[in-house]
Symmetry: C2
Subunit: 365 residues, 2 copies
């Protein structure tokens, strides 16, 4: 089974090899990021995406970008380290994983003994540790969720919570990879996931690479497929989970949960404990990012909605805890009433959901 | 208020003026169809679409295509009439409106007294009658449904059941036009309606032309907008309605109905009586057309899903009668238990839903 690796060290060890996700699904293009410009550009234009993957790429990219300066004086090297970290940090303001990973890197560098050579070795070890932890987190989620994926399962998923979004085998897709590896026959129904089509562009692509049967459907087709008996369970990722188990995830997730409930199907959420945000009592307080109208109005230069049309483009929605059958984390499977306090790795959410208007409603023209 | 006319006589009376819907929403291009090639090409490449609109364009196009042959001998003219009708009939095999309209045209021609000049006049009168009947049907639906659209209504609709799909002011959009005309403040939430985007491309466009506030949303956002209280009612069209009130309509309609039911919102269907098919006891026997994978996989030449991906693209779904608050027709408003027998204009459905596989499920690779 081929599970793609979205971020890893390049074969010579000096660069960060990424899959350029802007080229998917048309072409598999790998790029080795070596300079600070390479790294910042790849993150900014979404060649690497997915909060865990961005954090890892930023940390590893910092190492790669410093390699050619290892002959500098210690002070100059440290100044460059800080400058590069600041530039990488500024590429994407939303996901908390990136600044958190960079904080770990700079802390590790300041503890390192010796000159630039030793400092770079310490940074490289820390970046590798971040990658390894993410891989382990993915695998742990997969193992905890594996019993949910029976032989013959027909699984609906939404968006991409797979290998392309992490350093490992994904979150929602992790148990599917493990079930396939264990010889269980599964089929994944992949919501295309408008507006950015992470389902058809990314999830279908990475599953097909792994030889896992996958069927792309329009988002609007999911409910009627459930009605026809084509689906046996749903599993999705999460962007933030409140203390009561309310789940913020890609827009359209709530509609899937609602249809699953109506048809008596299990609806699972798979996410690392870093996604838990027990500072929020429930999902009503999760701010919902509204994204650019052009995500709906224009695609590859073609106009899909009238010029000047009012467009409401919430990027996320909130699924109430009572519609979630279970939340599977790297620390195990949780069901209502949720008792998350103390198990989350950090009080910071895994991905900050950037705020604009405080509640759902039409966007202002 | 400007309600677009998708099909009408050209100003000189000799051609059929259509809006080329393939150019929407980017450009408003009108074309005058004058020759048989013009007419067949416009219908085949979906420059005119929507079952009622196609029937009217075919009938009017037949007249236009015969004008330059009015000097022919009667026998030659009649042979040409039959040949042109056959060519137009062959352009789109699915919708029953087109052959039904052409049957009316040829029947009228065969009753006409006199030579080609008189025959053409009779055909023109018949085509105009078809257009007028369709306009009256739309207005009647609008008037019957108008009481459902209160001042301040925030209405969700799916696909395009508007002026662009008919000769008149549409079906689902008809009461919205009338409510706006009556000074009621309304806002329409327009599902973009993947895969062919008739919502964002067509519905948003025609509503904006009429000055009616409209907000385009991703299909996946409808349920969460309902949860947030942004919607007060739903109204959609129909492609076929079974005797028990089960409704076949564009894929995604069932998901809208399900969300409406969950949130306690009215879900109305607006359709002409010609859409009723009382030969079918319920929706389970309505065959569901599966359309080409490329509708999901490719857009304007850009690849949205991996090459060779398995794609399931049902064009329609069935909403069970118990989820439909009321069905509004040109003959009035109906609620459960439905008693349609005897009121439908024809036992033929308004639009045949072309069959491929017998039930929902994955498409074969």
């Amino acid at each position: 089974m081929t599970i793609v690796e979205s971020v890893r060290w390049s074969p010579d060890g000096d660069g960060v090899r990424i899959i350029d996700q802007t080229q998917l699904p048309g072409r598999l293009v790998e790029r080795d990021l070596r300079s600070i410009d390479d790294v910042c550009d790849a993150i900014a234009r979404l060649a690497v995406r997915g909060a865990p993957a961005i954090g890892i790429a930023g940390a590893m990219g910092l190492v790669a970008s410093l390699r050619s300066f290892v002959g500098d004086a210690p002070e100059a090297f440290e100044a460059r380290l800080r400058a590069h970290a600041a530039r990488i940090r500024a590429t994407r303001p939303t996901a908390v994983n990136l600044p958190r990973a960079l904080d770990r890197m700079t802390a590790r560098a300041s503890e390192a003994r010796g000159g630039p050579e030793e400092m770079l070795a310490a940074l490289r070890a820390e970046a590798t540790a971040l990658l390894d932890e993410d891989r382990a987190m993915c695998r742990s989620i997969g193992e905890h969720a594996l019993p949910l994926i029976a032989d013959g399962a027909r699984i609906l998923t939404h968006c991409n919570a797979g290998a392309l979004a992490t350093g490992g085998i994904g979150t929602a897709l992790a148990p599917i990879y493990l079930a396939h590896e264990a010889g269980r026959r599964v089929r994944v129904y992949v919501d295309e996931t408008r507006p950015l089509l992470q389902g058809s562009r990314l999830t279908a692509w990475e599953l097909s690479r792994a030889g896992i049967p996958a069927t792309v459907i329009a988002d609007g087709a999911a409910a009627s497929l459930m009605r026809a008996g084509a689906i046996t369970l749903c599993i999705v990722g999460a962007d933030r989970i409140a203390a009561n188990g309310d789940v913020a995830n890609k827009i359209g997730t709530y509609a899937v949960a609602l249809a699953a409930q109506h048809h008596g199907l299990p609806f699972y959420v798979a996410a690392p404990t870093s996604t838990l945000d027990t500072t929020l009592p429930n999902g009503d307080t999760i701010p919902i990012e509204r994204r650019a109208a052009d995500e709906l109005a224009v695609l590859h230069g073609a106009r899909l909605a009238p010029e000047g049309a009012d467009i409401d483009n919430p990027a996320f929605d909130v699924t109430p805890a009572e519609m979630v059958t279970a939340i599977v984390t790297d620390r195990g499977l949780f069901t209502r009433p949720y008792r998350f306090r103390g198990i989350e790795r950090s009080r910071d959410p895994g991905r900050v959901v950037q705020s604009r208007p405080p509640a759902l409603g039409p966007s202002t023209p």
